[in-house]
Symmetry: D2
Subunit: 122 residues, 4 copies
């Protein structure tokens, strides 16, 4: 008799589900941050692969089947991202908020607005 799967409608819920998934399979031994970083970038590359021969415009207007495949790659990236953060005891949303606090200062609207050149120089 299995305990019910934890709800995954929040990041902490997903984190719990992934913990249980790995524990049940005795896979924590493989989940060093080093290995998880490799797994994450391999999934990121599968995402890139979907877009590599598309124009930017095509990438903005994916047909439904392609969009579903991309959703699947994004899910894989999120799974490994949550997993590595958990292993290192890092709170993803706190880290992202801190990063955006810095980005708001680093890229002042008045200086960078609407300029590709400004953007790429930063």
């Amino acid at each position: 008799m299995n305990a019910p799967v934890p709800p995954t409608t929040t990041l902490p819920g997903l984190r719990e589900r992934l913990r249980r998934f790995a524990a049940e399979r005795d896979w924590d031994q493989f989940h060093s941050p080093k290995n998880l970083a490799m797994a994450l970038i391999a999934e990121a590359a599968e995402l890139v692969e979907h877009f590599q021969w598309l124009t930017e415009a095509q990438s903005r207007a994916l047909p439904p089947d392609k969009r579903a495949q991309v959703a699947d790659e994004l899910a894989d990236i999120l799974v490994y991202l949550v997993r590595i953060a958990d292993k290192l005891d890092i709170d993803l949303l706190t880290a992202a908020a801190a990063k955006m606090d810095r980005n708001e200062i680093k890229y002042p609207v008045a200086q960078v607005k609407g300029s590709a050149r400004k953007y790429t120089e930063y």
Copy 2:
């Protein structure tokens, strides 16, 4: 006078903050899924770089300054992940739950438990 920054304690909150950040700077023009996928993998590689010369054991026990840098890379990855999902109108947590539903079936505990060989073959 700026409107207050949206709270980023949930993924939808972070998504809103990123939307506003890009809109204020007129950067949506650069944020095609193709470009965002490239930005995401570049951040993933910065994560990998932190681990490339460490042993697995070292990667599990990072010193505080290194751990803070890794947290920063995870934040960057999450930012681009949320952004690309937003641009493609994909709900990350729904996609991750669907993926884990499939993974639970694909990797039955009884068959894969505790076996590196089974794991890598899958």
Copy 3:
């Protein structure tokens, strides 16, 4: 009647063969450096995938079938590397020699020899 395939026992030979391959298929239109960089990193990720759950020791002693797959990924990376260099009129071996000239100075033997800590700090 096709002209004979150019010999690919040197990098310039491979470059010629790839030029012809793309020209015959009218694929140069897709081979912008931007797209080729994406294709290259996608292949690099397939390489990473082979190693992500292996220990370092296992990665040094691949079974023959795995080694053949890895050779295939290395080939894919080389193909895109030669192709992007060609598109940007960059001589790979000259660039690598210049890089190693700088590395010899940047990492003096007396300072870095045999020290993991020195290595990872650089």
Copy 4:
């Protein structure tokens, strides 16, 4: 008194130079294929970073300083590619020739010529 640096005008020459570079620094201990694959993809990502906010057209017409930086990234990728191939005793040019033999068959000119759709489907 150092022995002269081997010429690096061919891939085998570069391979020798890299062997000596690592041996002198006692760095072979870090150069497991697993670690080298990580280093390679980190360099590939630095390449991607140069192109991520450029249009394809811009990526085809880099200004000289940017082009020099890209040459440097390509050099880094080649260095790690040669190194990992050496560690696994794989001949890169032989592997690439074998791959192109297969590609010539897999993508027949008559079927794929000039068609983006055909191309991306393959």
